[in-house]
């Protein structure tokens, strides 16, 4: 559950202009590829290459999915997962911003905490499952502990990088125009760190979802993960796959949402600018 520290460019670089025609062709290829994937998923169990007991054909998974959508229990489980995920993510982001700004803007604190952060960060969140069960049992707080622990570091590390990326000329400009410490944080440090923060949030959102599902699956806290476990032990294989598909769709939705947020907040950033200087 620890993903490597990603100190990538804050946001994806979109190629400006000329990509319009390609996008259409890419979309078509994407649809074709996905259709081929579904077709082979249908064919492989039907041809007996894999036993349908382990891998039901795509059509049966689809039917199970439709059935799921009709159940109230499914929506409750989905709600539980989304709540655990979003609450944990929110706590992690707020904590990450607060700690990141304080530590990042005070050089002494940065030096003092660097080694501790490097030690704590790589601890896989799943290693804390026994602790979570011991302290909180199987309720939402166990999920939150794991989700917060995993996603907090993603946010913190990005904020730390972002806070240190302030352009010295911009900082000096702000000082010469009489901007005090708080005004500089608000008008210079915050916008500089924002692209990094959003990258951190996007990574954290993905990790948080993984941890939310894991916690439900392993600890048995209510949610989609728990439903997957129940379906598996009950031999409802198609239903299990249908639930897995739902978690995948959730992951896609989370990513799309995070991208939207970046586009909306960072329209000024070089990687997302549409217009180029005349």
């Amino acid at each position: 559950m620890t993903s490597a520290p990603t100190r990538a460019a804050p946001v994806r670089s979109s190629r400006a202009g000329g990509a319009g025609r390609l996008t259409g062709a890419n979309a078509l290829l994407g649809v074709l590829g996905f259709a081929a994937f579904l077709a082979s998923l249908e064919a492989v169990p039907r041809l007996g290459l894999v036993s349908p007991d382990y891998l039901p054909p795509a059509s049966r998974i689809g039917a199970a999915l439709v059935e799921l959508v009709g159940e109230a229990g499914f929506w409750t489980a989905l709600g539980d997962t989304v709540r655990g995920w979003s609450t944990g993510l929110l706590i992690a982001v707020v904590l990450g911003i607060a700690v990141g700004f304080v530590v990042g803007t005070v050089p002494v604190l940065r030096e003092v905490t660097a080694s501790t952060i490097e030690f704590l960060r790589p601890i896989p969140s799943v290693a804390l499952i026994p602790l979570a069960v011991l302290v909180f049992g199987t309720d939402l707080r166990s999920v939150l502990l794991l989700v917060v622990y995993a996603s907090f570091w993603q946010v913190l590390v990005q904020v730390l990088y972002g806070v240190q990326d302030v352009d010295p000329v911009a900082a000096e400009t702000a000082r010469t125009f009489g901007l005090g410490r708080w005004a500089r944080i608000r008008h210079v440090t915050w916008p500089t760190a924002l692209p990094y923060l959003l990258t951190g949030v996007r990574l954290a959102a993905a990790v948080a979802l993984i941890l939310a599902i894991t916690a439900e699956l392993v600890i048995g806290a209510p949610g989609l993960g728990n439903e997957i476990g129940v379906a598996q032990s009950g031999g409802a294989v198609a239903r299990m796959y249908a639930l897995v598909v739902v978690t995948g769709l959730l992951g896609v939705a989370v990513n799309v949402l995070a991208r939207r947020l970046e586009k909306w907040l960072l329209s000024w950033h070089p990687s997302l600018r549409r217009e180029v200087a005349a």
């Binding site: 000329v169 911009a170 000096e172 000082r175 010469t176 000024w268």
Partner: protein, 279 residues
Amino acid sequence: MSAMSQTQTEAGPRTEVLLDVRAVRKVYEGRGRSVEAVRDLTFAVARGDLVCVVGPSGAGKTTLLKCIAGLLAPTSGEVVLEGESVDGPPPGMAVVFQEYGRSLFPWMTVRKNVELPLKQKKLPKARRAELVGQALDAVGLGDVHGAYPWQLSGGMQQRVAIARAIAYEPHILLMDEPFAAVDAQTRADLEDLVRSLWQRLGVTTLFVTHDIDEAVYLGQRVLVLSSSPTVVLDDVAVDLPAQRDQLTTRSSARFTELRGHVFAQIQRAKKHSGASVVE
């Protein structure tokens, strides 16, 4: 200092001294070695004056400017602005940096960039709008309020930076090689802009450049700095007519003469640093 220290007689009775640089020395303490960037700089700028500081590259021009702007504390000596010793960015000062692309905030529109310092001054909204409008009109950018700096050309971006500085209504305007990164044509336009703004607004201006022609064309006075460790080599009064234009002024005999004089000083400066000149 040499024979050309005629400023005092030239300008007639000296008016109020706005900026007083007194024996400023700056030594950078590195690991195990120290570098003396500025040895001993002493000069005064009168209220309403336009003074150019010119020196060979690496002459500590930027160090000097940062000391005056209160961004850097001198090792010894002191900078006095309007009777008060500078120990941090003083309120009555605006700086235009060479790197306009980094000095303007890309996350703010042109209007917001110009307005931000005025908000810090706690000016009422109406007054801010008025100052922003006037400043952008004055630099010929009345129609780009809503654009982002990165949507503009380099010359236009530096105009925005100048507008931000004059909207701040500073008592002194510092410019650190502001036109070093723009093309020659744009540069000529911007020089004329600085000249005309100075004449209209009467704001005391200290203009740092490595370009001799620019210094002579713009300044009422040109301070020639030596190589590092820096001292003032010469203080040249520019007795060109007040109305200057790129063509006639630059081709006049007096311009050529002044330019030649400063050029000779700079050549001398390259060979000598403060270490060999002063003693």
